[in-house]
Symmetry: C2
Subunit: 327 residues, 2 copies
DNA sequence: GTGAAAGCGCTAACAA
DNA sequence: TTGTTAGCGCTTTCAC
């Protein structure tokens, strides 16, 4: 493997000049710069990142911590982070905490020691720990807000309102809400908007695991409330609710309407296709990474950013029977 | 940030001893080892990976190259790689090539210069390029075989056979096969088993994009063949086929049976639940990473490993009407 | 078993 | 603009 020294020798310049020619081109005379670049290409020179990191104090790595890569929502965020990072010639060190809260703190510590900045997606880490992490290095939160720390979240309260308004417009007056993990920031945030629409009564049927199975468990509870529509913490739950409803002979949307959150791929694969609040996950990954880069350069503090969401009306919602428009 | 030097001073030993105490414990006397470890913990010492890498020539990073993180199958592989790598105190540098074949070669080159080994998941990179990559450093292929290179694949030919046998047992005699990308190794591998079951005629309806939309496009073609069942390259396609069939008023499984490949989450979320060939994606990630570690230590060549697959019968397949068992 | 010393490949003052 | 000189923090001979 060719080193920078080799390139310098081949180009007939000092290592320092070679270094400059490659990483700060305009500080070097045109002629020499060309010679260096040419030599680098000819030798197939690849900079040694470890050496660069050691010498410059910048690893060129962005850390990404996620609860579960296999969850399509997190994977989408990862994709965004990845794309944006590569755009600025950074690479991504990824850590899946496997929903293990205990390991998480340690994983973050470990990672943080070796990256320039961290994108942290940890719905459940105690706020106090998050602050500790933030003190240890540049960090941007995704899908969670902590006072004073930079974050990228979704305006899902607005999403809840949109969903509720949509349901009201369809004649629904009583909606059941199937919540996500109690300790999650986004669930708390959504719950706050539950009373935001006049004329719609919302019954909370509690917290459920944000997976398909959580939805099947919640479906019976939702049915029991007598609500004519159910709004779910996420699509996985919504899909679970729909499965269970179908199994019990309840038809969606004729008997009951269902709304999800996230707009994962599966939402459009099922029948009826799921009406859901789409949240720009991949964009959040972009945004967080950009913010991280700014944090590091400008040294600014970074405001929380709240990305807009959008209700996507598909087939799982329809006019409530008893108030259906007469045709 | 405390350095190893700080730890050494605090423990009253030389940096060399401190280094040994931490990374080769049994080469140091018990007493000193304890002193060093204690000091390290007290100071919150975190080794600087870049320095370790530079000095030892080992980055402690495993590279992972994938076509698309947002694709649940690849995300599952990533999860496996990640878990296994952490188990051996390595971290994962991830690169999503975004299905961009041109960028891919460069991404790999770049990554390869800075990792100890690479897990490469690239269904479409030309074989010759793959060999180049393999020459540049330790590398394990996932879901693809190249003569002489270590790889982890799935015995999906056996999966095709299982699926076909299942369909034959249900009375199907004519099956349509909806293929994946022409240039993909796994599609070629599956196609080879299409004629493996006597009494079942398989009509190939061509290559399709391995996404939902690809399936909806293929559904009409499959129908046109007059086949009573359709076997798909993957679940996304199968789901697309089912959507389209439903839209055309064709009922699954009563009118036509559908079988997928992969067993992604969505396969169990839809109705009817998809019968599919489950492939151990996450395990493949584990396996590939383990293999990579062996490659590096033993220096062995690494045999190709072919993981078993399993047909999961759900609701999208049923006896063919005209030959249905009489009840 | 332990320490001193020499780098790993690069960047960043500082001089020239 | 360029070269010289020091390291970055760690591992690893090599003596002791």
């Amino acid at each position: 493997m060719a080193t920078l020294r080799d390139v310098a020798v081949a180009a007939g310049v000092s290592p320092a000049t070679a270094s400059r020619a490659l990483s700060a081109p305009d500080t070097v005379s045109t002629a020499r710069r060309h010679r260096v670049i040419e030599a680098a290409e000819r030798l197939g020179y690849q900079p040694n990142r470890s050496a660069q990191a050691l010498a410059s104090g910048q690893s060129g790595h962005v850390g990404l911590v996620l609860p579960d890569l296999a969850n399509p929502s997190f994977a989408a965020i990862a994709k965004g982070v990845q794309a944006q990072a590569r755009g600025s010639r950074n690479s991504v060190l990824i850590a899946d905490t496997d929903e293990d809260a205990r390991a998480e703190r340690e994983i973050v510590r470990d990672l943080q020691a070796n990256v320039d900045g961290l994108v942290l997606c940890s719905p459940r880490m105690p706020e106090e720990q998050i602050r500790e992490c933030a003190a240890a290095g540049p960090l941007v939160l995704v899908n969670r807000e902590v006072e004073g720390l930079p974050s990228v979240t979704f305006d899902s309260a607005a999403g809840v309102t949109q969903a509720l308004q949509h349901l009201r417009a369809l004649g629904h007056r009583h909606v059941a809400y199937v919540g996500g993990p109690t300790s999650s920031w986004s669930d708390a945030h959504r719950r706050r908007a539950l009373g935001s629409v006049d004329g719609v009564e919302v019954t909370d049927v509690g917290s459920h695991r944000p997976v398909h199975q959580g939805g099947v468990a919640a479906a019976d509870l939702a049915l029991e409330t007598g609500a004519t529509a159910v709004l779910c913490y996420n699509d996985l739950i919504a899909l679970g609710v729909m499965s269970r409803l179908r199994a019990r002979g309840v038809t969606v949307p004729d008997d009951i309407s269902v709304v999800g959150f996230d707009d994962i791929g599966a939402a459009s694969y099922v029948s009826p296709m799921l009406t859901t609040v789409a949240i720009p996950l991949t964009r959040a990954g972009h945004e967080a990474t950009t913010m991280l880069e700014q944090l590091r350069s400008d040294g600014t503090d970074g405001h929380p950013v709240r990305l807009p969401v959008e209700l996507v009306v598909r087939e799982s919602t329809s006019p409530h029977a008893s108030t259906a428009p007469l045709t």
